[in-house]
């Protein structure tokens, strides 16, 4: 039996663990407030809160229930819109009513859940962070302007009425009538919850599932699954000598928040906004992004430029492979049957390096890139001592631009060098025309990005004239 809490009710179910939570709450639990909009994490209408105990504290995060298999829920707390309702509307709900921030209403519960995550978790409750919290929620009616007004109203109301120190948000929100009282009892209930630890089974490994359940949800319902997202150990991110080690089930958001990773990529918050949406990043793992082998995987592009290595395991045997050697061809990996990623190892570069990430997609946020690229530069007095530029969407695999990088080695940065690098990059790629852009466009875009890498990192050396 799989046991977890859904709102204030204990659930014990023997349904297939690959059943997605959206179907479970709507059909089994008859809670229709969670809506199905796309079943691929692209609209946010099915957003719920997922609560779990970490460091003796319960942490909630908004996730897409359409991509969340119930097998990941053992011992956790799921909150749907029904589980947020009190007799009177909360400040958040009233802000939406007062500003008419809901028209047809189909997307509204998702917005309410995402903003509840914002109230529960954000150290500073400001407008920009609130917008970021709903960046994965699509509304077709309002044009978002009334939602922005509702958020502003909410922030004013919250500021005047609620004491929001970060360490005890749940009881404070309960005390002020913004969350139902049962929330206070959940941690004890979860602690008492007995759930069978699933025996190690040879099923398909599921980590975050954010891509698996887009591509093959129906197929996954017919095979044994092995959920690895709960192993606390495999979620660890830590420093080991001059390496940052990322466990196989660490999520993108967990990685983003870890100090050692932020030391490597101080601008990760900026890049992260361009990668999926927060609810997806809360579930998606780096290892999943790597084995999924999409030629356009955003995090892989970052990791390639950072010279990441993979520690692969099969039984007790392990080996290390450079990430850029891991991809053998389109969706073809240097990975044996039964072998899996154990850790990702990212070298911590010497201080003073330059790094830049570029991505253009049809829509800037929550979209798949037409082309993406990252650049790592070590420079001494305008001379490039190390260049690692990676690019996605330009080849069957996420690519390290070997020729470009080799060309740049030991060069003094000037406009002519950049122009040459743009040409070399365009020659070493093999983009195809598809729904994300024509081959010709992708080639042009990568050249623009090469310019952008230099222009943003070395503005005093590389001005606008290169493009004129």
């Amino acid at each position: 039996m799989l046991t977890f809490y859904l709102n204030q009710n204990k659930i014990a179910t023997s349904l297939h663990h690959g059943t997605v939570l959206l179907d479970f709450v709507r059909r089994e639990s008859r809670l229709p407030g969670t809506k199905e909009g796309c079943r691929e994490g692209d609209c946010g209408a099915c957003t719920v809160l997922l609560g779990e105990i970490a460091d003796e504290e319960i942490k909630y995060r908004a996730v897409n229930s359409c991509l969340l298999p119930i097998g990941s829920l053992a011992g956790k707390h799921v909150v749907t819109i029904e589980g947020l309702n009190l007799r009177e509307n909360t400040l958040l709900q009233n802000a939406f009513v007062d500003e008419h921030a809901s028209q047809c209403g189909f997307c509204t519960p998702g917005f309410i859940l995402s903003l509840t995550d914002f109230l529960l978790n954000n150290p500073t409750l400001n407008f920009e962070e609130a917008i970021l919290a709903v960046a994965g929620n699509i509304c077709r009616c309002t044009g978002y302007e009334s939602i922005k007004r509702a958020i502003k109203l909410l922030l004013t109301e919250v500021e005047s009425r609620i004491e929001l120190s970060l360490d005890k948000r749940v009881p404070e929100l309960v005390r002020t009538g913004q969350l139902p009282e049962y929330f206070n009892t959940i941690p004890q209930k979860l602690a008492r919850l007995e759930f069978d630890v699933e025996p190690e089974n040879p099923g398909k490994i599921v980590a975050g599932g954010t891509d698996l359940f887009v591509q093959q949800a129906d197929k996954l319902l017919k095979q044994p699954l092995q959920f690895i997202d709960d192993g606390q150990q495999s979620r660890e991110i830590y420093r080991e000598n001059d390496q940052c080690i990322v466990g196989a089930s660490a999520t993108m958001e967990e990685v983003r928040k870890t100090p050692v990773f932020r030391e490597i990529l101080p601008e990760i918050d900026t890049y992260s906004k361009l990668i999926a949406s927060k609810p997806i990043r809360e579930r998606a793992t780096l290892a999943g992004n790597i084995v999924n082998a999409s030629p356009i995987a955003d995090f892989v592009i970052l990791l390639l430029a950072l010279e990441a290595k993979l520690i692969l395991q099969i039984g007790s045997a392990s080996r290390t492979v450079d990430l850029h050697n891991f991809y053998l061809g389109y969706k073809k990996l240097d990975l044996q049957e039964d072998e899996h990623i154990h850790n990702i190892s990212i070298p911590i570069p010497n201080p003073g390096f330059k790094f830049n990430f570029e991505k253009v997609s049809r829509r800037t946020h929550l979209d798949i890139a037409s082309v993406n690229t990252a650049a790592f530069f070590a420079v001494e007095e305008n001379k490039i001592t190390d260049a690692r530029i990676s690019a996605g969407g330009v080849a069957p695999i996420p690519l390290l631009l070997k020729n470009t990088n080799a060309f740049l080695q030991d060069k003094i940065i000037d406009p002519a060098i950049v122009e040459s690098a743009m040409k070399i990059a365009a020659e070493e790629i093999s983009p195809i025309s598809d729904v994300r852009g024509s081959a010709e466009y992708k080639r042009r875009l990568l050249q623009q990005f090469i310019f952008a890498h230099f222009h943003t990192q070395f503005p005093e050396l590389i001005g606008a004239e290169v493009l004129a």
């Binding site: 229709p32 809506k35 199905e36 909009g37 796309c38 691929e40 692209d42 609209c43 209408a45 029904e82 309702n85 509307n89 958040l92 709900q93 939406f96 009513v97 500003e99 008419h100 921030a101 809901s102 028209q103 047809c104 209403g105 189909f106 997307c107 509204t108 519960p109 309410i112 709903v134 960046a135 699509i138 509304c139 077709r140 009616c141 309002t142 044009g143 978002y144 302007e145 009334s146 887009v214 129906d218 253009v360 049809r362 829509r363 800037t364 946020h365 037409s370 598809d434 729904v435 852009g437 010709e440 466009y441 042009r444 875009l445 623009q448 990005f449 952008a452 606008a464 493009l467 004129a468």
Partner: protein, 750 residues
């Protein structure tokens, strides 16, 4: 006034089709559709699908008891293809099973053998082949042939506007259950309950009175559920009748995207002629509308394209010809603006082309040619109560265009790789169904003897706030507290023969009918109160659920009056019908007075362009819009903002991509992108034109749903101006939408 529905939405308590509790024994249906764009069906093999445990029945064309025909204007579309298929996604069979998953699995097990024929996806090629839905139509006035000679500048060119997926967040769906005497109840997510009822009756061979269609609300419609909600409801009904069980049919997103039609892509040619001082003397346009595989509403949409050929401008010599071209795409259908946006993009492009040739700013030509009272439009209607100039004037002053334009220029001088563009967009949009007959509505109002009021009309609530407006109308007319008025579901049993909720007219038409019904009840109650209180009827007024005699309060309350009236056998119910007066149109002459009135407004847009990456942001949109005296200002504001962003989506993001063989490539939300909160303009300021009471309107109000959509064209114009600021010599085709790809490739030609 707060919108009652919103209170349910924020609590997740509002009910959509898929949310109704299912009765015991419910079955689920899924649809097998064509895998090819054009050809004949050689063989349908259903044996493997039938064998799947849980499958109850598989239905094909021969199972249809009535006529296999769902076309509304022109009867050219089958519910289930029996022999020929005309687009990828055309329904062929329905699987009915214990669960939706089993039904979908069985759909995959149906195998169909086709004989393929060549597919046509391009409107101009279809026109060349003579594949037209109906004969071409031409609207004209003056004589363009003579006028060219007097023109100082003549520009001509071509334009392309893409399709647009409606992307109502709630996908198409319906729930069917049987009634005792062979009748059906259909709960449908439709803008046109009567359309569902009429077509279901035709296909199922039942009289209309045996079919009850009930609509509580829609999770968005935008035109996509005007005609195209029908097939799914009819299929659910067919399945329920065939298996004698209740049946639910809900499309998944990718099924919805593949099987349903979208906004019509248009390919157009224009020629425009101006005098030296920028007066437009002559304008010719030819529109090739990509109708898809069946007529659907295409001919009506084509007609509105012709009505809006000259947008907000007076042009003495016009010749506009439109062709509805039959292709092998899903039948394209109504979408906010209904052909108007496509026409306006062409005239605005023509003005830009002329302005560039003349070396002037397009906005100077726009301003110089704005309509005024007494101007005759190409279809014969004389402009009256024209407010386009006040909207323009007010916008320039209130939002200080001169300063904005100067700021943009200064910004562009300072910045080399980021450029801004400023553009204006006036909109004049005719209000009424262009098919005069549809301009009618009905209402049924009950006052229960506890004083509570129930209103039923033909209007469907889909987020546009029509229920909030109807509640205001009933409360104001009866003089009761709005809290005591409930707007009931839209039900063909209560209000019959309704027009779809479309053409921005839902509140106008149904509101007038509600007003008339409420007036009847009020009059009866006034007379009864006068008799009870022994005074003259003229002295009695109702206000806020109180009864006033000569303006003074009285012991009598609304509730006690209603109760007494009941016991005195006064009728507390009324039915009313409303038909828009004075409108007419003669298709044989293409002249008449098709619109009850016009909606006016202007938008000023600033776009900011990243010239390295080809990406852009809409920085600000300033709007002055005329909506008469609003019945519900916050509802109307939401319509303006929502339509604007949808319009910008159409012009600058949303790209419906089909392959050459008619396959929809952007068929999921991961490939078809619509505006998110970051893409929406950084700043939208909307001002409603003041002192703008519209005497003939419903409580002096005006319609609002569609007109602001066309402000989105202003975003396209602004982006183009920013591109020109970076590369003055860039050749930028008049092609929408702008995508980062189109922008970058125009900025950096080979």
């Amino acid at each position: 006034m707060k919108n009652k529905d919103t209170n349910l939405h924020v609590r997740g308590e509002s009910c959509f089709v898929d949310d109704f509790p299912c009765p015991a024994g419910v079955l689920h249906a899924a649809v097998k559709s064509s895998a090819i764009a054009h050809g004949t069906i050689k063989r349908i093999q259903i044996q493997n699908a039938e064998k799947l445990p849980g499958v109850k029945r598989i239905l094909c064309a021969p199972d249809i008891p009535g006529e296999n025909q769902i076309g509304s204007i022109i009867q050219d579309e089958q519910l289930l293809a029996d022999h020929e298929v005309h687009f990828i996604g055309q329904p062929i069979a329905i699987v009915v099973a214990e669960t939706a998953e089993i039904a979908r699995e069985a759909v995959e097990l149906i195998s169909i053998a086709y004989k393929e024929k060549p597919a046509v996806v391009d409107a101009r090629i279809a026109a060349k082949n003579g594949q037209l839905i109906a004969p071409p139509r031409t609207f004209s006035c003056g004589d363009t042939d003579l006028a060219w000679a007097q023109c100082e500048t003549i520009s001509s060119g071509s334009t392309e506007t893409g399709g647009q997926e409606h992307l109502y967040l709630e996908t198409q769906g319906a729930f069917a259950s049987l009634k005792e005497d062979g009748g059906l109840q259909l709960i449908s997510s439709t803008q046109g309950p009567t359309a569902v009822q009429r077509i279901a009756a035709r296909v199922l061979d039942l009289p209309m009175h045996k079919i009850e269609v009930d609509v509580l609300r829609l999770g968005g419609g935008f035109g996509g559920k005007e005609d195209q909600a029908t097939p799914w409801a009819v299929m659910a009904g067919l399945a329920a009748i065939c298996v004698r069980r209740p049946v639910k049919l809900i499309l998944r997103r990718h099924e919805d995207m593949i099987m349903t039609g979208k906004r019509h892509p248009y390919s157009s040619d224009f020629k425009i002629g101006l005098t030296q001082d920028g007066k437009i003397l002559a304008y010719e346009a030819t529109y090739y509308q990509n109708a898809g595989a069946a007529a659907d509403l295409s001919t009506a949409i084509l007609e509105r394209t012709l009505f809006h050929a000259s947008n907000s401008y007076y042009i003495p010599n016009v010749k506009a010809t439109a062709l509805s071209c039959r292709t092998n795409l899903p039948p394209n259908t109504a979408f906010r603006g209904f052909g108007g946006p496509q026409a306006m993009f062409v005239i605005e492009s023509a003005i830009v082309a002329a302005a560039e040739k003349m070396g002037v700013d397009a906005s100077s030509i726009q301003e110089k040619n704005l309509l005024k009272d007494g101007d005759e439009l190409p279809y014969g209607q004389i402009m009256a109560a024209c407010r386009i100039k006040p909207c323009w004037q007010h916008n320039t002053e209130r939002f200080n265009w001169h300063e904005k334009q100067r700021d943009v220029q200064e910004f562009n001088q300072k910045n080399k790789l980021v450029k801004k563009g400023f553009a204006c967009m006036p909109v004049t949009f005719g209000i009424s169904f262009t098919n005069t007959s549809l301009n009618q509505a009905g209402a049924l109002v009950h006052v229960y003897n506890d004083g509570s009021v129930s209103v039923s009309t033909g209007a469907v609530e889909m987020g546009q706030g029509v229920n909030a407006k109807l509640r205001t109308v009933a409360a104001r007319t009866l003089g009761v507290n709005p809290e005591s008025v409930r707007i009931d579901s839209t039900n063909t049993g209560r209000v019959a023969n309704t027009s779809p909720t479309a053409a921005s007219s839902g509140a106008d038409l149904n509101g007038h009918a509600t007003r008339i019904a409420c007036e009847q009840i009020r009059q009866r109650l006034i007379e009864f109160a006068a008799a009870t209180l022994k005074t003259e009827s003229e002295n009695i007024t109702f206000e806020n659920s109180r009864i006033l005699v000569s303006g003074r309060e009285n012991d009598l309350t609304w509730n006690s009056l209603v109760d007494s009236a009941y016991w005195a056998r006064v009728s507390l119910s009324a039915q009313a019908h409303y038909a828009t007066p004075k409108i007419h149109f003669d298709k044989s002459k293409e002249k008449g007075h098709p619109f009850a009135y016009y909606s006016f407004g202007t938008a000023a847009v600033i776009a900011r362009l990243d010239c390295i990456r080809g990406t852009f942001i809409i920085e600000s949109v300033d709007i002055v819009h005329d909506l008469g005296t609003s019945l519900a200002p916050k509802v109307d504001l939401g319509q303006v903002e929502g339509a604007l962003v949808q319009g910008i989506g159409w012009m600058a993001m949303e790209d419906v991509v089909f392959s050459e063989n008619g396959q929809l490539l952007a068929n999921t939300l991961s490939t078809y992108k619509i505006p998110d909160i970051y893409f929406a303009p950084e700043k939208i300021q909307t001002h409603f034109l003041e002192n703008a009471a519209h005497p003939a309107g419903l409580f002096h109000s005006k319609a609002i749903g569609e007109p602001p959509f066309m402000y989105g064209i202003g975003a396209w114009l602004a982006i183009r101006n920013a591109m020109k600021a970076f590369r003055p010599q860039a050749e930028i085709p008049f092609t929408a939408p702008f995508t980062p790809e189109r922008v970058l490739m125009a900025l950096y030609p080979k």
